[in-house]
């Protein structure tokens, strides 16, 4: 299978902190790939680097055979990669309709408004609220708006950063429902999640990232039941915990 996104030996970080220490991942066309891992493993950094917010210090990012590492976000968007940031990335003081319009900012054709109408047809909830400022939407509705906004660019790949953070369980199912629906139309998803179980159940393939490196990869179900994965989250469960206060150095004077 030819990969849609292919990341090889990626290194990146902030200032002098290297966060990604050689990451290899790939996403096939219309595939839902999930990356899980504890806080600070570098999941968000990976998405930011693929999207062009961060410049890789080493390694390659290839989209459909073309290197995109180091390109600016607008160029990455034009090539069909969208990015939905962590937290709510709606524009709170603009209306739902304007949020959708701006989703198509990089488009230069004149059919944007038609497409916005079509998207609103698909999401009646948003149509109802199209004149409201986005800040009044509920958490689930905001996620819906973000996904709807992405559709205006007809992306090949959508990068989702913790799409279910802070959502009620029923809404989480809705979000993944939308993801699967869009996947059926040929859109691939690369999802970063901390809520591992839900994400893994919804994944075609999954990676576990730990301290800037991929520790495991496999099918979603495989990863879900891998004992080592739980260890990555919950610490040294495999080995008995050492008693606190075991051989420490001398106390400081004073």
């Amino acid at each position: 299978m030819t990969e849609l996104l292919d990341v090889r030996d990626l290194h990146a970080g902030y200032d002098r902190r290297e966060v990604l220490r050689g990451v290899d991942v790939s996403v096939g066309p219309a595939e839902v790939v999930v990356m899980i891992g504890p806080n600070g493993a570098g999941k968000s950094t990976l998405l930011r680097t693929v999207f062009g917010f961060l410049r890789p210090t080493r390694g390659q990012v290839v989209l459909a055979g073309e290197p995109i590492g180091g390109l600016e976000p607008p160029e990455v968007l034009r090539r069909g990669v969208c990015y939905v940031m962590q937290g709510y990335s709606v524009l709170p003081n603009l209306s739902v309709y304007d949020n959708l319009l701006l989703g198509a900012y990089v488009r230069r054709d004149r059919r944007v408004r038609e497409d916005v109408e079509r998207v609103l047809d698909r999401f009646p909830v948003l149509r109802e609220r199209r004149r409201h400022p986005a800040r009044v939407l509920s958490g689930g509705e905001r996620r819906m708006l973000e996904l709807a906004r992405v559709l205006l660019l007809f992306p090949k790949l959508v990068l989702l950063d913790e799409p279910t953070l802070g959502l009620a369980p029923s809404v989480v199912d809705q979000v993944y429902g939308m993801v699967h629906e869009l996947r059926a139309q040929g859109i691939a998803f690369f999802v970063v999640e901390q809520n591992a179980r839900t994400a893994l159940r919804n994944a075609d393939r999954a990676y576990v990232l730990e301290q800037g490196r991929v520790r495991f990869e496999g099918r979603g179900e495989e990863i879900l039941h891998h004992p080592e994965v739980q260890r990555a989250y919950l610490g040294a469960a495999a080995s008995p915990p050492a008693a606190p206060g075991a051989p420490p150095p001398p106390p400081p004077p004073g």
Binding site: Y83, L94, L102
Partner: protein
Amino acid sequence: MELVWHAAVSGAVLGLVYALVSLGLSLIWGVMDVVNLAHAEYLMLAMYATYWLWALGKVDPLAAVPVVVPVFFGFGWLTYQLLVRRIVRAPVAAQIFATFGLLFVLRYAAFAAFGPNVYGVWRLGEGTVSVLGVPVATSKAAAGVVSLAAFLGLSAFLRFTKAGKALQAAAQSREVALSLGIPVDRMYALSWGIGIASVALAGALLIPFYQVSPTIGDAFLLVAFASVVLGGFGRVDGALVGGLCIGLLENLLGTLLSPTLKLLFVFAVFVLMLLVRPQGLLGEPGR
């Protein structure tokens, strides 16, 4: 009582122009969180430009607007590209020093070019129009009307055009805007263009009844800051409300108490506002 009413009406008209002066300051502040200390120097330069067009080219100040405003739009854009772009994400101190230095470059450039003398446009036999029963000089009334039109125009631009919406997006969240492919940098330049163009418009409107000299910037900067702090920064309506309040306050207190110390009142309001409600009348609480 009639005196008070007169003062209120002419204060409101003046307040509209003040609002226009503070609009650009507020816009730039709100969009990119940079306070342009040199803001009022552009007002001074625009007043000179309009004056010289009138003195040398016999162009009526109002007729000069279509020339002055675009030129200053370019001036603002250029200021962003050459200077401000380098300090957008610099420490606050660097931003403060940069626009403070700019203030002096512009002020003393005007000083070197035009000298310390005071210039004004003199039009004999100017008529008055009645505004709410109060006679107001035509040029002042025109200034009020054009200011109001500029506010409506800018609001429309921000609300109904793609560029205006993108500008709002850049102001609300730089990151989200970038993730949508909005060229935030160009939006910042645009906000400088618009901000400086609007203060230049205020300059062209002021020159028929306000004389220009290289140092008038200080007083206007104070008025603009007070308006922005009063109305809440980064908001078009805030600038309007703030400017109107300051204009009214200045004229009313100047009439009722002492005309010479009216700026002191403005300052007192400014400090009081910072103490009591730093987010401004229309701003939402919390930083």
